[in-house]
Amino acid sequence: MPKIKLSDSTINIIKGICAEFQNKESELINVLHKTQVKLGYLPAEVQEVIARELHSSVARVYGVVTFYSFFTMIPKGEFPISICMGTACYVRGAEQVLSEFKRQLKVEVGESTSDGKFSLNCLRCVGACGLAPVVTIGEKVYGRVAPTQVKEIIAEYRQGNIQNDVKTD
C-alpha cells in the first residue's frame, strides 16, 4: 500500500489521544473514534502508531477498523457521497443508483476521486425511507434519486452551484 509519512505533530496528536485513554488496549474503539474525528480518517500509518501506543497488534487494530463501518481508511472527499442501502432504499433501486455513481466517478465504494472532490460510501437506513432511494452528500439529502439524475447531481458540485434545499421531486 502507498506509504504516507506522518508529520511529528500528527504523531503527537495520536499519542495524545492514546494517553487520554491511559494507553489501554481496552479503549481501542474510543481511541480510534477520537482519532478519526480529529484526522478525518485512519490510514495504515495511523493504525500502526495506535497499535504501538496501546501495546496491541496492528492486525487487531485493523480488525476493529474494518469491523465498524463508521471507521474509514481513506480521506473523505470534499463532498462525501453516501448511498443508503437500507431495505426500503434497496428495493427501490439504490443499487442501480450506486453503480451509476461508481461509473460516473470511476471509484469503488470506500474510495475517493483522485482530485479529492468526492468520496463514495454506503450507509444503513438513514431514517428517510419515505424518500427512498436516498443519497446524502455532505449535509444534504437527496430523495427518490433515479440513476439518470446522478450525472446531473455530480455536475452541480463540479460546477460549484451547490443547492441548500432538500430535493424531493
Partner: protein, 587 residues
C-alpha cells in the same frame, strides 16, 4: 470450595463451581462434539470463542439451547446432550457452515485430518439444504505457509495462537458478517508481515485454510534426477511423531523405520540432524563458556544471558520485535543449517562432487525451516545449503504415495559420517533439551571433570517458563527455559529491563518445543500426544551409548580433519551467522 450438583444425560455429576457443561460431561465420559473450541491441557492454551454452536445441548427450563463449551453449570441443572432438538440444531449449524465452504475434500491438503470433514461425517450430513453465495478470497502463499481463506470457518484458533500464545499478533478477524476472515493487518500477505512462520496457526487450524507449502513434488523430481546426489537429514523430533501418521501409538519411536523408509524413497545417504545438533552444542557451548569466562573475569562489555538460536521462528521473532537485542543470542546457526553447510563443503569434498550436484533435503517438525533455508545468509552463489525442508507430515505423505508399508519396515541405521549422534543431539527435539545438552558439554569443558550425572530433571517438563541453577564446579549457573514466544517475550522483557538473573536461556517457539512443531502430525487439541512424544525423546537419549556431544567420535573427527576447533575461523564462516533488524520490514 463451592460444588455444583447436576445431571447430564440422566447421570449425576458433582463438579467445581465455574466448570463448563463440556468439562462436566467429559468427567463422566459423555462426549459432546465441538469444533471451534480447543484446549491444550497443561500448556495453558484454550480457545473458547463460543462461535460455532456445534456444541449446543438442551438444558431443562432454558428456552434456547446452550453452547456447552462456554456455559457454566449451576446447581440442579439438567442437561440433555443428545436430544433430538440438540442433534437437529447441530446438523443445521453444520449445514450452514458447509453452505459457505468449498467442497474440495478430494484434493484438499487437510483431507483425512480435517475437523470439519470429521464433524460432517459424525453428524451424518448428506445434503446441504442451504444454498447461497460463497465468499471468495485470494490465496496467500508465503515461503512456508499457504492461507486459503475460502476454507476458513472463523473458529479463531489461529488468532488465539498467534496473539495470545505467541504474542506475534499477525492474525486478526477483520471485516464483518459474511465478509469476515482472519487475516494480517491491511490484508497484506504473510510474507510482508511480522509472521515468524512458527506454524502454530497451521497446527491448530481445523480445516485446510492454513497449511504448509507442499514441496514433496520438488523432492520427488530431484530424487529421480540421475545427475544429482540427494542426501537427507532428519530432525530429532520427527522420529518421535512420524509413527502417528501410520496409526501407531503416540510416543512410539520409529528411528530405524524412518531411516529405512528414506532409503527406500531413494535418498543416496540418510543422515541425522542430531549430528549437527552435537555440532551446535560444540559451537554454542564454547561461545557460552567464552562469554561466561569474560563475565566472571569482570569484563563489563560482555553480554549475558546468552540465548539459544536454533529455532528460526524465534530468530525472526527477535529480529522483528527486539532488534535492540540482536547481539545477545548465540551466533550459532541452527542444526539444520549447520548440517547443510557441512554437507555442501566437507561431505561434497569427500564425495568429490560440486556443491551444485549435491541436493540436501531435510525432514523437519517445523514449517519455519522452509523459510530458514531460503534466507540469503545460507546460500553460496545463490545455491542454498539446504535445498528443501519437508515437514513430518509431508514425509508421511511421500511414504504413503510411494507404496511403502511403513509399519513392516525393518529398523536400519543412519549412514556415516553425518549420521552418528549422541543422546544430547536427540533431546534438541523437546523444550529444555538444547540447554540440557549444552550443560552436559559446557560443564565438562569448564570444570575438566566428568559429570556426576546425565539426567537434569530440573530442566525438563512442560511448564512454559522454567528456571534452574546448575553448579559448574563452584560457579552457580542460572538457566532459563521458555517455550512459546509469549513466554520468550516475558524473559526478553526482563533482560531489557535489566532484571534478568540468567546466564543462559533456551528458547523454542513452539509449545513443547519441536515435538509440538507446526509441521508435526496434527494433535487435534490433545496435549497428551505432546507429552508422549517428549517421553519418547528422553527414552531415545537414555538408550544412547554416548550422551554428550563432545564425545561424538565423528564430531571429533570433523574438527580434526576440517574445522580445527570450535569457534575457529572456518567454523565462524560455516557455522555461525548474523541477525538483522527487521522493524522496517513490516507493512
Amino acid at each position: 470450595m463451592d460444588v455444583i450438583n447436576l445431571t447430564i444425560d440422566n447421570k449425576p455429576v458433582v463438579v467445581k463451581k465455574g466448570t463448563t457443561i463440556l468439562q462436566a460431561a467429559k468427567e463422566i465420559g459423555v462426549h459432546i462434539p465441538t469444533l471451534c473450541y480447543m484446549k491444550l491441557e497443561d500448556l495453558n492454551i484454550e480457545n473458547k470463542p463460543g462461535g460455532c454452536r456445534i456444541c449446543v445441548v438442551e438444558v431443562e427450563g432454558r428456552r434456547n439451547l446452550a453452547p456447552a463449551c462456554c456455559t457454566e453449570v449451576h446447581d440442579g441443572m439438567v442437561v440433555n446432550s443428545h436430544s433430538i432438538r440438540a442433534i437437529n440444531a447441530r446438523r443445521t449449524v453444520m449445514e450452514l457452515i458447509l453452505s459457505d465452504h468449498p467442497t474440495d475434500c478430494l484434493i484438499c491438503a487437510k483431507s483425512g485430518n480435517c475437523d470439519l470433514q470429521n464433524m460432517a461425517h459424525y453428524l451424518g450430513i448428506r445434503k446441504i439444504h442451504y444454498e447461497g453465495e460463497q465468499s471468495h478470497y485470494r490465496k496467500d502463499t508465503s515461503p512456508a505457509i499457504i492461507r486459503d481463506v475460502d476454507k476458513c470457518i472463523m473458529c479463531r484458533r489461529c488468532e488465539m495462537m498467534c496473539n495470545e500464545v505467541q504474542t506475534v499478533g499477525v492474525l486478526s478477524a477483520i471485516n464483518r458478517g459474511f465478509n469476515s476472515v482472519v487475516a494480517p493487518a491491511f490484508e497484506m500477505n504473510l510474507d510482508h508481515s511480522v509472521c515468524t512462520y512458527c506454524g502454530q496457526c497451521v497446527a491448530v487450524c481445523p480445516t485446510g485454510a492454513l497449511t504448509e507449502v507442499d514441496e514433496t513434488g520438488k523432492v520427488v523430481r530431484v530424487l529421480s534426477d540421475p545427475t544429482k546426489t540427494v542426501i537427507v537429514q532428519t530432525a530429532p523430533a520427527v522420529r518421535a511423531a512420524l509413527g502417528e501418521e501410520f496409526d501407531m501409538e503416540a510416543g512410539t519411536l520409529v528411528t530405524g523405520k524412518l531411516v529405512a523408509a528414506l532409503r527406500r524413497l531413494g535418498f543416496d545417504y540418510v543422515f541425522d540432524t542430531d549430528f549437527a545438533a552435537d555440532l551446535t552444542i560444540m559451537e554454542e557451548g564454547t561461545e557460552l563458556l567464552n562469554r561466561l569466562g569474560k563475565h566472571l573475569a569482570g569484563d563489563k562489555n560482555v553480554k549475558l544471558p546468552i540465548l539459544t538460536s536454533c529455532c528460526p521462528a524465534w530468530v525472526k521473532f527477535f529480529e522483528h520485535q527486539f532488534p535492540d537485542m540482536k547481539d545477545i543470542p548465540s551466533t550459532a546457526r541452527s542444526p539444520q543449517q549447520m548440517f547443510g553447510s557441512i554437507a555442501k563443503t566437507y561431505f561434497a569434498d569427500k564425495l568429490g562432487i560440486k556443491r551444485e550436484d549435491l541436493v540436501v533435503v531435510s525432514i523437519m517438525p517445523c514449517v519455519a525451516k522452509k523459510y530458514e533455508c531460503g534466507r540469503d545468509e545460507f546460500k553460496v552463489n545463490k545455491n542454498p545449503d539446504v535445498d528443501y525442508a519437508l515437514t513430518t507430515r509431508e514425509l508421511a505423505a511421500l511414504i504413503k504415495i510411494s507404496n511403502i508399508n511403513f509399519r513392516t519396515l525393518p529398523n536400519e541405521e543412519f549412514d556415516n559420517p553425518l549420521g552418528e549422534s549422541t543422546g544430547a543431539g536427540v533431546i534438541f527435539g523437546t523444550t529444555g533439551g538444547v540447554i540440557e545438552a549444552a550443560v552436559r558439554t559446557a560443564y565438562e569443558l569448564h570444570t575438566k571433570k566428568e559429570l556426576p550425572r546425565l539426567d537434569f530433571d530440573e530442566l525438563r517438563g512442560m511448564e512454559g517458563i522454567r528456571k534452574a541453577t546448575i553448579d559448574f564446579g563452584g560457579t552457580p549457573i542460572n538457566i532459563g527455559i521458555a517455550h512459546g514466544l509469549g513466554n520468550a517475550r516475558k524473559l526478553l522483557e526482563e533482560i531489557q529491563a535489566g532484571k534478568s538473573e540468567f546466564h543462559a536461556i533456551e528458547i523454542m517457539s513452539c509449545p513443547g518445543g519441536c515435538i509440538g512443531g507446526g509441521g508435526q502430525p496434527y494433535h487435534h487439541g490433545n496435549a497428551e500426544i505432546l507429552k508422549k512424544r517428549q517421553k519418547a525423546i528422553y527414552q531415545e537419549d537414555s538408550k544412547k551409548a554416548i550422551r554428550k556431544s563432545h564425545k561424538n567420535p565423528y564430531i571429533i573427527k570433523l574438527y580434526d580433519e576440517f574445522l580445527g576447533h570450535p569457534m575457529s575461523e572456518k567454523a565462524h564462516h560455516l557455522l555461525h551467522t548474523a541477525y538483522f533488524d527487521r522493524t522496517e520490514e513490516k507493512g
